[in-house]
């Protein structure tokens, strides 16, 4: 007897070692992942509050449980028990569906994350991973893109201005940063020669991709923060501008599910970062050398994996405690005009390197030729004369009244708009009138 999802996949080509689990093991793994994620969420909330408090020279929660560790549990209980408020002009079905859509995919992503190598569970040898496919990483992308629907629909169905704005922002944000994210993965695919998570982890046995593909890793780190709507990119729920963004009209359990989704997504993208760039469940270097890789076998890797994930979560907290929120247009500009072009250029370089390796070029030769190319480009750039605008004798641009007698027309070349200059000096004439009124 096989589970339904595996039935769907069974005719497709498979990753060796997967798809042979007995049904009870699949069930066991699923439940374990679910519990793990819930626990991680509880932990992360306290972790974040404590860490941010330390950064701000406070103590943080310290009443509930030993050192306040049960604070998040108490908060969760409180949220569940709170009154459910449903505003009058919401789109009821979508309003209720949205948090579910947000939360469910968040749990699904962990299905393809390898938590460890093969272990023995009740006498059955099985990898510490629910399932894997040749397109596992793309599957992650697919599931994540479904999760966004929760945010967008939640924003729309609330029937209110701020949530809608939050929803729109989130749409644009996710679409934009998904591109950079996907591009940062391409380099990994090129090196690993696979899109299966377990095989990518295997391919990092010698060296982590975070080292080899540092630019990709950097792009991924940035875009993963954008993907999860976390500070400094938490624009869909920017408190200062949109109250609470798409969550403004939500309360009680539904609010909690959004909250849950956000924290699980944080863990998800961190886990992906660990899998794709930080060697997955492999022990970091000095430890991995001990005992001929003893710490890379058995249940040990689970420890390394969780440690790495929690480290990345700390990066999230750190960013939140350090950086102010970025302005929306700056955020979009950064994504489209910096991250994506950089990723594209870097993929070109990676592809060229891969090709060179495949063609059998020596690493030394590549370095020499690459260095020579860069040096030549630098020298050539010295030859190009620096162009300085010659301002001497240049007539000041003629001023033109753009709105004279009706429709505004754009200034001709060489003209400068009077209104534009006034605008620059007095940015908001209308606002001022409003103030004087």
């Amino acid at each position: 007897m096989r589970s339904l999802s595996q039935l769907a996949l069974q005719t497709a080509d498979e990753i060796p070692g997967f798809g042979d689990d007995p049904w009870w093991l699949v069930l066991l793994k699923s439940v374990a992942i679910f519990v793990l994620l819930l626990l991680l969420t509880l932990f992360n909330i306290v972790y974040e509050r404590k860490a941010v408090a330390r950064m701000q020279h406070r103590v943080g929660p310290n009443r509930t449980g030993p050192w306040g560790t049960l604070q998040s549990l108490a908060d969760g209980m409180k949220l569940i028990l709170k009154e459910t408020i449903t505003p009058r002009n919401v789109d009821r079905v979508v309003y209720i569906l949205a948090p579910v859509i947000a939360a469910v995919p968040a749990f699904m992503i962990f299905a393809v994350i390898p938590l460890g190598p093969e272990v023995s569970i009740f006498g059955v040898r099985t990898p510490l991973q629910l399932t894997d496919t040749p397109v596992a990483v793309l599957l992650v992308l697919a599931i994540a893109s479904v999760g966004v629907y929760g945010i967008v629909l939640g924003g729309w169905s609330s029937g209110s201005t701020y949530p809608l704005l939050g929803g729109i922002r989130s749409t644009a944000q996710v679409i934009s940063y998904e591109i950079a994210m996907g591009l940062s993965w391409v380099a990994v695919f090129l090196f690993a020669g696979s899109m299966s998570t377990s095989q990518i982890v295997d391919a990092q046995e010698r060296i982590w991709y975070a080292v080899v593909l540092l630019p990709s890793f950097a792009v991924y780190l940035i875009s993963m923060v954008g993907e999860t709507n976390r500070a400094p990119f938490d624009l869909p729920e920017a408190e200062g501008e949109l109250v609470a963004g798409f969550m403004t009209e939500y309360s009680s359990v539904k609010y909690m599910m959004f909250f849950l989704a956000e924290y699980i997504n944080m863990v998800n993208v961190s886990a992906i970062a660990v899998t794709l760039f930080l060697g997955g469940w492999r022990a970091p270097w000095p430890i991995s050398a001990i005992g001929d890789g003893y710490f890379n076998t058995g249940w040990w890797p689970l420890l390394w994996f969780l440690a790495k994930v929690i480290l990345l979560v700390f990066v999230y907290i750190w960013l939140r405690g350090t950086l102010p929120r970025i302005r929306y247009d700056q955020f979009m500009r950064f994504g489209w005009k910096v991250l994506i072009p950089v990723s594209l250029g870097w993929i070109l370089v990676v592809a060229a390197m891969r090709l060179a390796f495949n063609e059998g070029l020596e690493r030394r030769d590549i370095l020499i030729w690459g260095g020579a190319f860069v040096a030549v480009m630098l020298l050539v750039s010295l030859l190009v004369p620096e162009r300085k605008p010659d301002l001497r004798g240049a007539a000041p641009p003629a001023e033109a009244d753009l709105t004279a007698g009706g429709h505004p027309v754009p200034p001709m070349p060489g003209q400068e708009s009077v209104a534009g200059r006034v605008q620059a000096a007095e940015p908001s004439a209308a606002g001022e009138e409003r103030l004087n009124a």
């Binding site: 769907a8 080509d13 924003g155 708009s417 940015p427 103030l435």
Partner: protein, 274 residues
């Protein structure tokens, strides 16, 4: 024996998947046609597409299945939602048909055409599926990549050119020329402080009376007059501002009700007189 069992299991599995997803796909497709709101329609389409993705998996095309979700559900439908939200959330279609006879003709033509197609598809002499095993010995992804980058590489390049052209076209279409230079944040800040007065601080928030979310109600100043500054000028222009006096009157009414019910006069110190 074992192979046959696997085969049979595969078939039943596929049939289960098909017969559980296909009705959902059809129903949500119908949902698109009948949905009143465009957002609902978009959601229905997204469901259909996810169903199709699952069917692709069972048709031994996992790459296409994932791409279906990423591209259609994740990008294209998201773009649709984005545009729907941009150009009017409340736009729900009126159901009155304006073209005479269009609805009847369309339904008739649709049913007729559909029956025809189904008849063709059902009666076509279709052989048993050959399966993809022979076509993708090194896996689905490798097979597709091999085909795209060898036999169809020209098509691939052309479609990439098409994509770039489309992106440029969309930018050109939606581009709005800026008549004036946009004031920078710094200039705005400088101008605000130079103007002096209360402008340096943020504008006051709208009035909140714990009765509704009330961006449309002006805040009351200590002397009881409503503050125009607390209301977005957009709302003023639309004429959807709730007058402050009315609020104040209602509050007084409430107070009186409270006094009548409880029989105790309100504590003067807690009262905010308008």
């Amino acid at each position: 024996m074992f192979a046959q069992a696997v085969e049979a299991a595969g078939h039943t599995g596929e049939a289960v998947v098909f017969w559980s997803t296909a009705p959902i796909a059809v129903l949500s497709a119908l949902g698109l046609v009948v949905a009143r709101k465009a957002v609902h329609g978009a959601m229905f389409v997204a469901v259909t597409m996810i169903c199709l993705a699952i069917l692709y998996f069972s048709l031994e095309a996992p790459f296409l299945g994932v791409v279906q979700i990423v591209v259609y559900t994740g990008a294209i439908m998201m773009l649709f939602l984005f545009v729907i939200m941009l150009i009017g959330v409340d736009v729900s279609d009126s159901r009155v048909e304006t073209i005479r006879g269009q609805r009847v003709a369309a339904v008739l033509a649709g049913i007729g055409f559909g029956l025809l197609l189904v008849a063709v598809a059902a009666n076509a002499l279709v052989s048993e599926a050959a399966g993809m095993a022979a076509a993708q010995p090194e896996g689905n992804v490798a097979a597709i990549a091999d085909r795209i980058f060898s036999r169809h590489v020209w098509v691939f390049e052309v479609t990439s050119a098409l994509l770039i052209t489309a992106a440029l076209g969309a930018m050109v279409l939606t581009y709005r020329e800026r008549l004036f230079r946009r004031p920078s944040q710094r200039e705005l800040a400088v101008a605000r402080f130079r103007r002096g007065g209360t402008a340096a601080s943020p504008l006051p928030s709208p009035g909140v009376y714990a009765r509704h979310n009330a961006v449309d109600t002006p805040a009351l100043l200590p002397d009881g007059t409503p503050s125009e500054l607390s209301i977005s000028p957009v709302l003023v222009a639309r004429g959807t501002v709730r007058p402050a006096e009315q609020e104040a009157a209602q509050i007084e009414q409430l107070e009186q009700q409270v006094v009548e019910l409880t029989g105790e006069p309100l504590d003067e110190s807690t009262r905010e007189r308008p």
